[in-house]
């Protein structure tokens, strides 16, 4: 799996090491064990997915985490992304709104030895104000809006990564950054290679 991720041009050894250390099969439903290390998103029930490994790696890289970074994850899902984050920093906070997924993710994370990840059953739209500010926020589900509370909870200099597109059609990643002066900017990170260079008229 890591070799495949490298083929995308990923060179961040911290992220690759994290991807190597987290056993993805522990987060994949029983029916999909043979695909656990394929570069494929897989269904985990409740209309949710465990993301394509490359997307997990790329989102993690964009957060530019350090060992002391505080990270908020919105949408725990299977817990896999939280486990990858926890392989880099011990300060991982994850919010999931679907109760059944919270329980499932807790079990998965414990089995993978990631008990330090703090999970909360709640509405990710509101973030986790008691633990704010965060150096990084990762939103694992595509949204047609970016919740204002999350932008507030992003620390100055912080980075927020969001996939663009529905579960099986993530076509782009978006990075929101907050300057030291509080100004918010965003950029589109992927998919741009497909666009041919257009001659200026």
């Amino acid at each position: 799996m890591v070799a495949v991720i490298r083929q995308y041009g990923m060179r961040d050894e911290t992220v690759l090491d994290a991807m190597r250390r987290v056993p993805r099969h522990l987060f994949v439903p029983a029916g999909f064990q043979t695909e656990a290390y394929d570069d494929t998103p897989l269904p985990i029930g409740h209309g949710q997915t465990i993301s394509q490994p490359y997307i997990v790696a790329e989102m993690t890289r964009q957060l530019a985490l350090r060992p002391a970074s505080r990270v908020l994850e919105v949408g725990t899902g299977s817990g896999y992304q939280a486990a990858v984050l926890a392989a880099i920093t011990p300060h991982v906070f994850s919010v999931e709104i679907i109760g059944a997924l919270v329980d499932q993710a807790r079990r998965n994370l414990d089995r993978a030895g990631c008990s330090a990840v703090r999970l909360r059953h709640g509405d990710g739209y509101e973030g986790w104000p008691e633990e704010a500010p965060f150096d990084a926020i990762i939103v694992t589900c595509a949204a047609s809006q970016i919740p204002p509370p999350l932008i507030r909870q992003l620390a100055p200099g912080g980075r927020m990564a969001i996939p663009v597109g529905p579960p099986f059609a993530v076509q782009d990643l978006m990075l929101v950054t907050k300057g030291e002066d509080g100004t918010v900017r965003s950029e589109s990170l992927m998919a741009v290679r497909f666009v041919p260079l257009v001659r200026r008229e």
């Binding site: 495949v4 083929q7 995308y8 570069d39 494929t40 998103p41 897989l42 269904p43 029930g45 409740h46 209309g47 997915t49 394509q52 490359y54 997307i55 709104i97 679907i98 109760g99 059944a100 059953h121 509405d123 739209y125 595509a142 047609s144 809006q145 970016i146 919740p147 204002p148 932008i151 507030r152 663009v164 597109g165 529905p166 579960p167 099986f168 059609a169 993530v170 076509q171 782009d172 978006m174 929101v176 918010v184 900017r185 965003s186 950029e187 589109s188 992927m190 998919a191 741009v192 290679r193 497909f194 666009v195 041919p196 260079l197 257009v198 001659r199 200026r200 008229e201």
Partner: protein, 830 residues
């Protein structure tokens, strides 16, 4: 058995079949998405096609037309519906994952096969009655047509009164009634059993779940899984199921700018068939819509003071709220779906929406936008076409095969025409990377401006934020003050300008940064002499949509896929549009199933003799009329979706018209006394000429009649299709008359070939239309009929030689109930 019994029964079953088709269209669109629903027509065709070989096999086992056999088939039709619906409701289909997990396509195949069974039973019943009682076939056939014709409007009516999951049971009920009708004179012993079935059916109808589970990837089930979510409204109708939910997890402000930190009122989310179509805000006054001023939709309001506004699509009323926030004195909202208007004006949502719907100056009009604009001479300062569909579904290409009459050059031109002299047309769509919807809207607006004789470069502006793109088309050239106003609007909100006359490259791509200023570069290319080259090399199809190719949501190019996969690895699959993939999969699967079920048995045992002189010509003729019929019918279905405003209305009106007039044509063919070969050639030639005329004249004719009320538009639909269907309906019976009655193998072979061509053409039509336009379907159909005419004119056998006596029974096509009469009955290969 008295003929009237058979005729009532046939009428009931035929009506039930149309009802079932419409019900399945509705259910599949509700549980999954539109594109999957379209396979129903192909599945129905397949069922009726397969009834031919099935009847052939049945006859070998002693099956004959009798009250009990017909009743048995009618009952089989009825009893096969509940299992089909049960499977439809539970089939574990992860449609959005198909590009990644193609094994799911087997699930689609299984669904197609299960849904074929009721149509197979109904086709066998009709085929049995028509072929075993040839002397009565005319009346039988008329009864079947009457049933089909009535089934379509009945289906549309029932959609308003029955929940979707019970609609197919109503169709099944007609089968049970038919069986009942047949039994009394035939076997009184069976009565208790039938009465029991009827009681069970009534009980089943009363207790059957009113609901079916939606795909877990739709928004509604996901929201309902969240704590505190409560459904506060639900209604059903031909245009879909409308739900409203409230709760702490409901947040819906698509495209809200990142700088906005103010308040957003509590919301109820409105969902159509389980996907968001707008949020109803609990606003106390128009001032509570301040948040909407931080979307790209607000741009035109910063260029005009207190404009008279037309909003296309009510959604939850937030776009009207935005107009009120800007003190618009006159806000007209045109909404096609009456259920949406009723939801906001009555019932539990009315108190949420009060600040909008009861505000002075707000007028809600229930009409399809183009019909409304075609009939009103009112001029507006701003015409706003806001976002009305969900980001997720659009992103996955789930609407790729959906026609849209709103986002075409002709529609934009009409809107420009209804603007005040200094009016603005504002169209907002989702932003994607690489850009798709935004560039297509820009190109569409540019072409519409050109159609008005205006130079687009001076009349267009485009801006975007991280989520949405808004294109503004001005009646007058963009003034310097307006350009400055847009610059100010964008810089205050962190939005990016993409195009504006005189825009400098340094002013673009500043806030939501792309790797390059793709929108700016794309806009310049689309306005310049390099447009064609740009469109040709762009990895997605972003050229303007037109009425002839109204697939605004279809961007995928098959030829780009290898490049995408090479560059993006597995991630390239994310760009495959589900609508396109499913249409292609349906074509392959249904063709394969049709080949196995229709042709294989015939090829093995029922082939015409090799020395039969007309074997090749006959095969060509029957293939050509099968393909031609369905290409035309599918093309008309899609064309009339634009005209009638919704696929369900189009399906009902177009299918009923083709059936009734096609049937009348085949009845008429029985009176033809000239040689059947000559007559078949004439009918096919007439169909070819009419198909050509329709391809050339239909768009203009329908545009002329666009402003009529719905009932008159339905009448126009019927009258437009009538001459075509009358000619087409004659081709099959005349062709059959030309085949030796003593050559059952040959007739069965030709029937099978006709059925195969019909099914394949049905499944191929959506892909052909996406690639080459609706008009191309007309041309192809005309070519098919021309080929048929040529083949028939060379046919060596004369009808008189082969068809002594009454020809009606052999010549009359199937009754039936499905989109065409031509391939729908059993072969008369007895």
């Amino acid at each position: 058995m008295h003929p009237s019994r058979t005729r009532w029964a046939l009428g009931l079953v035929s009506g039930g079949v149309i009802l079932l088709e419409l019900a399945l269209l509705r259910l599949l669109a509700l549980r999954f998405w539109d594109h999957i629903a379209q396979m129903v027509i192909a599945v129905a065709m397949l069922g009726f096609g397969v009834s031919g070989p099935a009847l052939l096999a049945g006859r070998r086992l002693g099956l004959r037309c009798s009250a009990s056999s017909l009743a048995g088939l009618a009952l089989a039709f009825a009893l096969s519906v509940p299992p089909a619906v049960w499977w439809l409701a539970r089939a574990p289909l992860d449609v959005p994952s198909l590009a990644w997990l193609p094994a799911g396509l087997w699930g689609i195949l299984a669904l197609e096969v299960v849904l074929t069974v009721p149509f197979l039973c109904a086709g066998m019943a009709a085929g049995l009655a028509l072929t075993d009682e040839p002397e009565l076939a005319g009346g039988h056939y008329a009864a079947a047509l009457a049933g089909s014709g009535l089934g379509a409007p009945l289906g549309v009516f029932l959609m308003s009164v029955l929940p979707p999951a019970r609609l197919p049971l109503a169709a099944a009920g007609t089968g049970i009634l038919a069986a009942f009708w047949l039994m009394p004179g035939a076997s009184r012993r069976a009565m208790p059993g039938l009465a029991g079935v009827l009681v069970l059916a009534v009980l089943g109808m009363a207790t059957a779940p009113a609901d079916i589970p939606l795909s877990p990837y739709k928004a509604l089930p996901q929201l309902e899984a969240m704590p505190g979510t409560r459904r506060c409204f639900q209604s059903h109708g031909p245009m879909g199921r409308l739900d409203a939910v409230t709760g702490p997890a409901v947040h819906h402000t698509p495209g809200l700018g990142l700088q906005y930190a103010g308040a957003i009122p509590d919301q109820a989310l409105l969902l159509l068939d389980g996907e968001p179509c707008g949020a109803v805000c609990s606003a106390r006054s128009a001032d509570d819509f301040e948040f909407m001023d931080h979307t790209t939709l607000a741009a035109p309001y910063h260029l005009r003071d207190s404009p008279r506004v037309l909003i296309v699509g009510l959604g939850g009323g937030t776009d009207a709220g935005l107009a009120l926030y800007h003190r618009s004195p006159q806000v007209t909202v045109v909404e096609m779906n009456r259920a949406v208007i009723e939801a906001l004006t009555r019932g539990p949502l009315a108190r949420h929406a009060r600040a909008v719907v009861t505000a002075p100056g707000v007028a809600l009009v229930c009409a399809e936008a183009r019909s409304f604009l075609a009939t009103r001479e009112v001029r507006f300062d701003v015409i706003q076409v806001p976002l009305t569909d969900a980001l997720g579904a659009a992103g996955a290409g789930l609407y790729a095969g959906r026609e849209s009459s709103l986002y075409t050059v002709e529609a934009f031109a009409l809107m420009l025409d209804r603007l005040a002299p200094d009016g603005i047309l504002a169209v907002t769509r989702w932003a994607q990377t690489p850009p798709r919807e935004g560039l297509r809207v820009f190109d569409t607006a540019a072409r519409a401006l050109r159609a008005h004789g205006l130079a687009p470069a001076a009349h267009l502006a485009m801006l975007r934020n991280w989520a949405t793109v808004t294109v503004l088309a001005f009646r007058k050239p963009v003034a310097a003050a307006e350009a400055d106003g847009l610059r100010r609007f964008c810089s205050e909100r962190g939005f990016d300008l993409c195009y504006l006359p005189g825009l400098r490259p340094s002013e673009t791509n500043r806030y939501h940064r792309l790797a390059r200023p793709y929108y700016y570069e794309g806009a310049l290319a689309l306005l310049g002499p390099g447009r064609e080259a740009f469109l040709g090399q762009y990895p997605f199809s972003v050229a303007a949509a037109v009425d002839d190719r109204p697939y605004f949501h279809h961007f995928f190019r098959l030829r780009s896929l290898p490049g995408l996969m090479r560059q993006a690895g597995a991630r390239g699959r994310a760009f495959v549009e589900m609508g396109y993939l499913l249409a292609a999969a349906a074509l392959v699967q249904i063709t394969a199933v049709a080949a196995v079920l229709l042709l294989a048995p015939l090829a093995l045992g029922a082939r015409p003799r090799r020395d039969a002189p007309d074997r090749v010509l006959g095969t060509v003729y029957f293939i050509a009329i099968g393909a031609g019929f369905m290409l035309l019918e599918m093309g008309m279905f899609q064309r009339f979706v634009q005209y009638l405003g919704h696929p369900v209305f189009s399906a009902a009106a177009v299918i009923a018209s083709f059936l009734v007039f096609g049937g009348l044509g085949s009845l008429w063919s029985a009176r033809v006394r000239t040689g059947a070969g000559v007559a078949a050639a004439r009918a096919a030639a007439a169909a070819a000429v009419l198909a050509l005329a329709a391809a050339a004249l239909l768009p203009g004719w329908l545009a002329r009649c666009q402003g009529l009320p719905m009932t008159l538009r339905a009448a126009v639909t019927a009258l437009t299709i009538a001459p075509l269907a009358l000619a087409m309906g004659q081709c099959l019976p005349l062709g059959l008359r030309n085949v030796s009655a003593e050559a059952p193998g040959e007739r069965a072979w030709l029937w099978g070939a006709n059925g195969f061509a019909s099914v394949t053409a049905t499944a191929a039509a959506p892909l052909l239309a996406m690639a080459w336009g609706l008009r191309s379907l007309g041309w192809l159909a005309a070519a098919c009929y021309a080929a048929a005419a040529l083949a028939a004119s060379r046919w060596q056998k004369a009808a008189a030689t082969h068809c002594p006596g009454d020809s009606r029974g052999r010549g009359a096509p199937a009754p039936a109930s499905v989109p065409s009469d031509h391939g729908s009955a059993a072969p008369r290969g007895e």
